[in-house]
């Protein structure tokens, strides 16, 4: 193990290390601590110029209620869910099939298609912006959640396919061969033999895609105009512009907006990290 395990160090070093952890954590998360504190700060604090100190008055309930009552953030959050959940389902489903095809079958265009998905996944959004916006307009889906869902589903399919293909490749191929010998059809092999083994990969991908899509801001700007379909990232930015000095309310909004992906991360931590570090270990 590197660095040398701290358990083998002198007691003084050990104590110092353990003591340094919470301090480092506090410094590292200072921005978040500040937001959390500000979100429960009373308006009086801000008037007195107490922006960063310990709150003089606590208005937790009042601030969070104010955000929901005076702004459409409830609607924004709902919109974010209405966009994110279908995208996760669609892109993971598409990628399961495509990844399966690329991992199991040998055909001439195989690697080309694979690298098309990989490469497409890294292109800058801006090169897609004008045509995608135009297409969405022409489909009559501009300013609707469906327009955003279709784009995100398609785009995320690239990364998902890369992920799924690598995962299925690592499964024992004999399993599929055995099923074929038994006379099981190709579709049934996919559904009954391979799918059950893909559960961890599906879980990992789902949390990742949820976070990516939830946090998207650019496409919400490009494809959405009205509050009725706006996700919380773009909504929060608009609120920040409106409530210039009401830091406590914007903070409460930021906490609300950050909550779902954070909760997702904590619930599915193992899967999340496994998904993210895919390929970081294999040489």
């Amino acid at each position: 193990m590197f660095p040398r395990p701290i358990a083998k160090a002198r007691p003084a070093v050990r104590v110092a290390y353990k003591a340094s952890l919470p301090v480092a954590l506090l410094v590292w998360l200072l921005p978040l601590v500040a937001v959390a504190l500000t979100s429960i700060r009373g308006a009086g604090d801000l008037a007195r110029g107490n922006y960063w100190g310990w709150p003089g008055e606590f208005d937790l309930v009042q601030n969070y209620r104010a955000v929901f009552v005076t702004s459409p953030i409830g609607l924004f959050i709902l919109n974010s869910f209405r966009i994110t959940v279908p995208v996760v389902a669609a892109s993971v489903a598409l990628a399961c099939m495509a990844g399966y095809a690329l991992a199991v079958y040998r055909f001439r265009a195989n690697s080309w298609l694979f690298f098309l998905f990989v490469g497409g996944n890294f292109v800058p959004f801006q090169i897609l912006m004008v045509p995608v916006r135009d297409l969405t307009l022409r489909l009559g889906l501009y300013d609707t959640t469906l327009g955003l869902i279709l784009f995100h589903s398609a785009f995320q399919t690239g990364f998902c396919t890369l992920f799924m293909r690598n995962f299925i490749s690592s499964l024992p191929h004999e399993l599929i061969e055995a099923a074929r010998v038994e006379g099981v059809g190709e579709w049934s092999i996919f559904l009954r033999v391979v799918m059950p083994l893909m559960r961890p990969a599906i879980a990992a991908l789902s949390v990742l895609i949820f976070t990516f899509v939830w946090n998207d801001y650019f496409w919400a700007l490009v494809l959405i105009q009205g509050n009725h379909a706006m996700p919380v990232t773009a909504g929060l930015n608009a609120l920040n512009g409106e409530w210039v000095s009401a830091w406590n309310l914007v903070s409460a909004g930021a906490i609300v907006a950050a909550m779902p992906p954070v909760a997702m991360f904590f619930l599915m931590q193992k899967h999340f990290i496994a998904g993210l570090t895919l390929g970081a270990t294999k040489g």
Binding site: L21, L94, L113, P131, G283
Partner: protein, 309 residues
């Protein structure tokens, strides 16, 4: 399931051709939906943008062919050069996230009680939206109430209004971006460190290697894959920097914090009229820069793949 040789012998001649056919068609069917979506929304738009970049177009009216006119205009556009220069700055400074992530990973790669929770909390900045990051850092830099200003006042040092000062604005935004990016690199390295062979480390330790020398000669070579991924995601993150610029400064002051990604958006969908063709030309330049890195990545993946099969 029990399939006797007799069964196979009797059914073989009929089942085999059909199954062979289905095995031929199956990959196409499995691929079709994903491929169709990806072609329509990702691959085709790349080429469409390249075409649009040769036109003058407001997004609704008629398109007028101008050839390389948009690109010629770019060459004389100061805002374009500012964006390009800032993109280079982003690329260079964003790379700090890689060693910083490694440093944090080394710091946290211990097994004491509660370290798992600490690790996940360190990863937090990457999970939250960049809009939130932008909003918070915007407050940090606030010239009146910001924490930077407060600290400066405490120490008796005059602090600049970072986001309103052309000299510092891009650095201020990059600093905000480094926060989540370092967290990302950290998690990549933590996983990498997990897979460093303990035998080699022990062997080197017996030979008297330790500290930085151990890191350089024994550990880092084994972290190669993690470093590669960290560099790739950091480059892509740097070139994609849009959210922070948009939320923190909107490109200002006087367009001095623009990057190509933001300038393109501004030109294509600005309040002064849509210039889709010009925007597309900027996007093509950004794409060309990105393509260099995408190619390196894909070529490496092809090699890796060949090695495995």
């Amino acid at each position: 399931m029990t399939t006797t040789t007799a069964d196979i012998a009797t059914t073989d001649w009929r089942a085999q051709p059909r199954r062979r056919l289905s095995r031929r068609v199956a990959p196409a069917l499995f691929l079709a939906p994903a491929l169709l979506m990806f072609l329509v929304y990702v691959i085709a738009p790349i080429f469409a943008s390249m075409r649009i970049s040769l036109y003058d177009w407001d997004g609704v009216g008629k398109m007028t062919f101008v050839g390389l006119g948009n690109y010629r205009e770019l060459l004389g556009d100061d805002a374009f050069y500012t964006s390009l220069k800032n993109n280079v700055l982003w690329l260079v400074l964003y790379m700090l996230a890689v060693p910083a992530g490694l440093a944090v990973a080394l710091y946290l790669n211990q097994s004491v009680r509660g370290i798992r929770l600490v690790k996940s909390l360190f990863f937090f900045p990457f999970v939250i939206s960049q809009v939130v990051v932008g909003v918070v850092f915007g407050w940090f830099y606030d010239p009146q109430f910001g924490i930077l200003h407060s600290i400066g006042k405490l120490l008796g040092v005059a602090t600049p209004a970072v986001l309103a000062d052309e000299r510092y604005v891009t650095y201020g935004i990059i600093a905000a971006g480094l926060w989540p990016q370092t967290a990302y690199c950290m998690i990549l390295y933590l996983t990498g460190l997990n897979n460093v062979s303990p035998d080699q480390v022990e062997a080197a330790r017996i030979d008297g290697a330790k500290g930085l020398r151990m890191l350089r000669h024994v550990v880092l070579p084994q972290l190669g894959p993690a470093t590669f991924i960290a560099v790739v995601v950091t480059v892509i993150g740097a070139l994609r920097s849009f959210d922070l610029v948009s939320t923190m400064t909107h490109g200002g002051p006087y367009g001095s914090s623009r990057v190509l990604a933001f300038y393109m958006y501004e030109e294509a969908l600005s309040e002064y009229g849509y210039r889709m063709g010009y925007g597309a030309a900027i996007a093509v330049v950004l794409f060309a820069i990105m393509m260099v890195y995408i190619s390196i990545f894909v070529v490496r993946m092809i090699r890796q793949d060949r090695g495995k099969r």
